[in-house]
């Protein structure tokens, strides 16, 4: 699109979105723009996610769809005639561009209205404007207006912000299992919250389970599970007690503060030894003796254990 070269940044993003919404199979790539295709595709996906969502979402999914006010004010910079020469799917862009320029030419009449009002109207006028580009809507705020730098920057920033938020939501949707079929921000947020809570509960439960498992095993000889270096601390927690009291869980560098709270307590050495033992076991496991997903911890556990064993 020739107009891409001349349209401002915000126009391009909007234009890209509209183009994608119409011809997204063609996967048109924005030529030279900071909003790359990835953003466009993602924003398109966010369309499918949220387009039937709440109105406040619709306003960012189709932000300028209602700005097609194509109406007849000729604009100077955007070369609307050149846009008109293009195919009908691009007519949106034409109208958008024209719209933006109309602001430029027409003064800031309707611009002072609230964004939300504009958004709602945009949302309501979405479908209509999509079909009919000759649809005058004089009471809309044209966020892509070129004049009025302040409003523009706010609108542009707002739009960029919303796009980013939609990207993040999309990523979260992929992360949370079973979220792909949920449309709507509120439902997805609920799912995310539930998932985070369930994960935290799982961590707690597993920590309890490990706590239950470990002391029982500590009575026995731990030489099996601790294959090598850290076997001593696990086999002899009481012997380790002295060193632990001297250096309150020194291996746990940043957690020394919390561990040191345990050390003054008389029976804390057991917990410290349990801590050590668990770290020892994890360290051994992380060394690849078992096919556990500890690789991510390896790098972090190694220095700790080295410190502990000193």
């Amino acid at each position: 699109m020739q107009c891409l070269q001349q349209a401002p940044v915000s126009d391009l993003s909007v234009l890209e979105r509209q183009r994608l919404h119409f011809d997204w199979q063609q996967q048109e790539q924005p030529s030279r723009h900071s909003y790359d295709a990835d953003l466009c595709v993602r924003s398109l996906n966010s369309f499918t996610c949220f387009s039937n969502g709440l109105p406040d979402l619709a306003q960012y999914s189709m932000p300028v769809a209602s700005n097609f006010e194509e109406a007849g004010v000729a604009v100077s910079n955007c070369n609307p005639k050149r846009r008109r020469a293009e195919s009908s799917p691009k007519s949106k862009d034409e109208s958008n561009c024209k719209r933006g320029k109309q602001e430029t030419g027409g003064g800031g009449g309707g611009r002072s209205e609230s964004r939300q009002q504009n958004n709602r109207k945009e949302a309501s006028g979405d479908t209509s404007s999509y079909k009919n580009e000759e649809h005058p809507k004089a009471d809309y705020i044209h966020v892509r207006a070129r004049r009025g730098q302040a409003t523009d920057s706010h609108s542009l920033a707002e739009r960029v912000r919303r796009e980013r938020i939609s990207q993040r939501m999309k990523y979260l949707q992929e992360l949370v299992p079973g979220c792909s079929k949920i449309t709507g921000k509120a439902g997805m947020l609920d799912e995310i919250i539930n998932y985070v809570q369930s994960l935290q509960r799982q961590v707690e439960f597993l920590s309890m389970k490990l706590a239950a498992v470990n002391p029982l095993a500590a009575d026995n000889n731990y030489s099996n599970c601790s294959m090598g270096i850290s076997s001593e601390p696990m086999e002899q927690p009481f012997l380790h007690f002295n060193s632990l009291q001297a250096h309150p869980c020194s291996g746990l560098d940043m957690y020394m503060d919390s561990s040191s709270d345990l050390v003054p307590d008389g029976s804390s050495f057991v917990s410290c030894s349990a801590l050590n033992s668990l770290y020892g076991v994890e360290f051994q496991l992380g060394r690849g003796t078992a096919a556990f997903p500890f690789q991510s911890f390896q790098g972090n556990l190694l220095p700790n254990n080295l410190k502990m064993e000193i």
Partner: protein
């Protein structure tokens, strides 16, 4: 050793909790994420996990309150606030975009943590069984 046994139970449970939180922060602090730093700070202050329970209550209250105008906005805000409280350090994050970033990273970290601990529990359980049965 009876008293030690009883103390052991409670302390061990607590030690595990602390340990897991420590591992979590340890694993993630190397990436320098905001929530990992906040988790470490929280551990240092020994703030317990009561925040998670209070958040849901607060969220429900907020939802009940705001029904007049833009109920969806209010509900969204309530949920965002709940999420803020769930993610460590989330209350300091003002923008939704940053919050979702941290949430995604935190979820990934939690998933790894859960899988690691599950594997560890499985392994230890297996060891315990072999040794305890003998």
């Amino acid at each position: 050793m009876d008293t030690d046994g009883k103390a052991d139970a409670g302390l061990l449970e607590r030690s595990r909790r602390i340990k897991t939180a420590a591992e979590l922060g340890l694993a993630r602090s190397s990436r320098g994420r905001h929530w990992s730093r906040a988790l470490l700070l929280r551990r240092r202050l020994l703030i317990s996990k009561e925040e998670t329970t209070t958040t849901t209550r607060a969220a429900v209250e907020v939802e009940k309150l705001g029904v007049e105008d833009e109920p969806e906005e209010k509900m969204l805000q309530a949920r965002v606030r709940t999420l803020q409280r769930l993610v460590p350090g989330g209350e300091e994050i003002m923008e939704a975009e940053r919050l979702f970033e941290e949430t995604a990273d935190y979820i990934e970290a939690l998933q790894e943590q859960v899988s690691a601990m599950r594997a560890l529990a499985c392994l230890l359980h297996g060891f315990q069984r072999t040794r305890g049965g003998s």
